[in-house]
């Protein structure tokens, strides 16, 4: 299906989006399916890019687009309830119209640096949201990439976002390997128990992989340490940053860090690029 071509006079002006499906993934994460009013997606994007969602007079915030660009039927956003706007989003019903603008930011280099590489995805909690887009993109263009391993952890089994899709669609041992872990023992859980960084170490991936890491800052910190210990170079690891954003186009100054603007030059950074930024994130 063709992307609806909406003329946007200015990148600050949103277009209409319609919420066509709401799925409760975990107690505090819902995935919202958004369509342009005429169907299809509101705009094209690449994996890792973000969009500004807003509810007038409630707020506007940047969310990563969870769906893969290979899916032209709709856009999806997995959103954790944690503030004014997200509270409101969690209360709304299917059919609600919202304002949406984007896409913003760079993307994971799926067509350049990642092509032909063996990939290792490492996600924690809601950090799977931006990676889900890449994972589905990679699965859709499977022949362009080497081995694929996905390590995903959450506090409890209930907090693993969209376990259904992970188990039924992603997990193809030998082709796409999924490794799940939760922080603490739980009844009915027969998978790994433990924090993501240790789990990654125990899985002993070869350091020739390209790793894509996303999750809470504390997890990212320890995963990066673990990867370094395992022999990964910083140039092999990609992660995302998150700062307060308003404009999305590197002008309002809010997400400025060093000479970079996270909304425009990020949110995806290769770890060696982070070394050039002041420690303010």
């Amino acid at each position: 299906m063709l992307v609806d071509q909406v003329r946007i006079r200015d990148m600050l002006i949103p277009v209409l989006g319609v919420v066509t499906d709401i799925r409760a993934d975990t107690p505090d994460v819902k995935t919202f399916r958004v369509n342009a009013p005429g169907g299809g997606v509101c705009f094209a994007h690449m994996p890792g890019q973000c969009a500004m969602l807003s509810i007038p007079s409630v707020g506007e915030a940047m969310f990563s687009i969870t769906s893969s660009p290979t899916n032209t039927g709709y856009m999806e956003f997995s959103i954790k309830k944690c503030g004014c706007l997200t509270d409101w989003l969690h209360q709304m019903d299917v059919g609600q119209q919202i304002a949406i603008r984007g896409p913003y930011g760079n993307a994971f280099p799926v067509e350049t640096a990642l092509r032909g590489k063996d990939l290792l995805f490492i996600a924690g909690g809601i950090g799977l949201a931006p990676l889900r887009s890449v994972i589905n993109y990679v699965r859709h263009n499977r022949e362009n990439y080497g081995k694929v391993d996905i390590v995903y952890g959450a506090r409890t089994a209930d907090d693993l976002v969209d376990l259904e899709e992970i188990k039924t669609e992603w997990d193809r041992p030998g082709d796409v390997n999924v490794h799940l872990t939760i922080d603490r023992e739980q009844q009915g859980w027969d998978g790994n128990v433990g924090f993501v960084p240790n789990f990654v170490k125990s899985l002993a991936f070869a350091p020739d992989r390209t790793a894509l890491v996303c999750g809470p800052p504390i997890m990212i910190k320890f995963v990066l340490a673990a990867l370094t210990e395992m022999g990964f170079e910083k140039t092999q690891v990609y992660t995302t940053l998150e700062l307060r954003m308003k404009c999305g186009i590197g002008k309002c100054g809010r997400c400025n860090i060093g000479s970079k603007y996270v909304c425009k030059d990020g949110p995806v950074f290769r770890c060696d690029e982070l070394d050039d930024l002041p420690d303010e994130y």
Binding site: L16, T86, G253, S259, D276, E280
Partner: protein, 346 residues
């Protein structure tokens, strides 16, 4: 180059205002600001330093973006109208004109800010050389020559004569439209004109803040400056207000907010300041928790990050407004002197 006897200035203003809205520095409550010219408005060439810069006319303090109306689950979105007023700014200082160049770097780079671009397109900037710069001025440090201002048209007021020199196509168009009132300057004027500029240069050399050195600043100074242990002492006087930001001709950070009118929602953008504690506040925390970090951000941005992104151009033009207006008398000059390479050789 054209000229005009000063006595005919009101005539010139009337002619310009007949074509486009004319704004020039006028006194309001003792303070100078750009105001609309009307018949009888006095132009005082000895007072040029407006409290707010010309930035307002291109990037207003508050500006509507879009209107929302909702009914049940339905939402309608209406764009704000394009700014369309053609206008002329007269009497802009050289530093402020340079400040617009800095704003251009931000707003006209891809993706273009169409609101700013429309205003920039509609506005003609007539600068005026500073015959009497003030003690707070340090434009020379940032490569601005107050005797040779930029803009679309540059003007000089030497005794009884206004000299007029177009610098851009827009300036040419305005000059052409004023053809019958402006006279061509001839050889005899050159002497007086050169003497006027020489007099300005002599005063510029005598300014107390003249000789401010930017050695040690620039796009590659991140590591040396960010980690400096002098930031806490420098920032302790800062009261965290937005005065320096709002009077600055190059500060361009903004906020986007909604106003619920009760019958629809207006989304507007307004100036914001990195000095404010909620500037970077998120639901999950704040990466800049104290005034030290916020203070550092403002000056690092002007002196390091901005040049890193703009081929060495600084985010400061030395207009001196923050020097004059800071409630605690803390300003970029003190920062440069404290952190610069020649920190101890004042």
């Amino acid at each position: 180059m054209q000229k005009l006897p000063v006595s005919r200035l009101p005539e010139l203003f009337a002619r310009i205002d007949g074509m486009k809205s004319l704004y020039l520095p006028v006194s309001a409550g003792g303070r100078l600001q750009f105001g609309r010219w009307t018949t009888g408005t006095a132009y005082d060439p000895s007072r040029m330093n407006t409290v707010k810069s010309a930035k307002d006319f291109f990037f207003p303090q508050s500006e509507d973006l879009v209107f929302f109306r909702s009914k049940g689950k339905e939402l309608s979105i209406t764009e704000a109208k394009d700014p369309a007023e053609p206008f002329v700014l007269f009497g802009v200082r050289a530093c402020d004109a340079k400040g617009l160049e800095a704003l251009d770097r931000v707003f006209l780079s891809d993706p273009v800010d169409t609101f700013y671009a429309a205003r920039r397109e509609n506005g003609v900037v007539v600068t005026m050389a500073c015959a009497e710069p003030e003690e707070t001025c340090f434009c020379g440090a940032f490569g601005v020559d107050a005797a040779e201002p930029g803009g679309d048209v540059a003007a000089w007021l030497a005794q009884d004569t206004l000299y007029w020199q177009s610098r851009t196509d827009k300036g040419d168009a305005l000059t052409a439209a004023l053809e019958d009132i402006l006279e061509d300057a001839d050889q005899r004027d050159q002497g007086a004109f050169a003497a006027h500029k020489a007099a300005i240069k002599a005063i510029l050399d005598d300014l107390p803040l003249n000789g401010l050195s930017l050695e040690g600043f620039g796009g590659d100074a991140l590591e040396a400056l960010f980690g400096s242990d002098k930031w806490p002492a420098l920032s302790q006087a800062c009261i965290g207000c937005g005065t320096c930001t709002f009077v600055c001709p190059t500060c361009q950070c903004y906020d986007i907010q909604d106003f619920d009118t009760g019958r629809g929602v207006k989304r507007f953008r307004c100036w914001d300041s990195c000095m404010y504690s909620d500037f970077t506040l998120m639901a999950h925390g704040n990466p800049r928790t104290s005034q030290v970090e916020r203070f550092r951000q403002r000056f690092m941005h002007k002196l390091v990050y901005f040049p890193a992104n703009n081929e060495g151009m600084y985010g400061c033009v030395g207009c001196g407004r923050c020097v004059a207006k800071c409630p605690a008398f803390m300003n970029i000059v003190k920062v440069i002197r404290t952190l610069g390479v020649n920190a101890h050789a004042r």
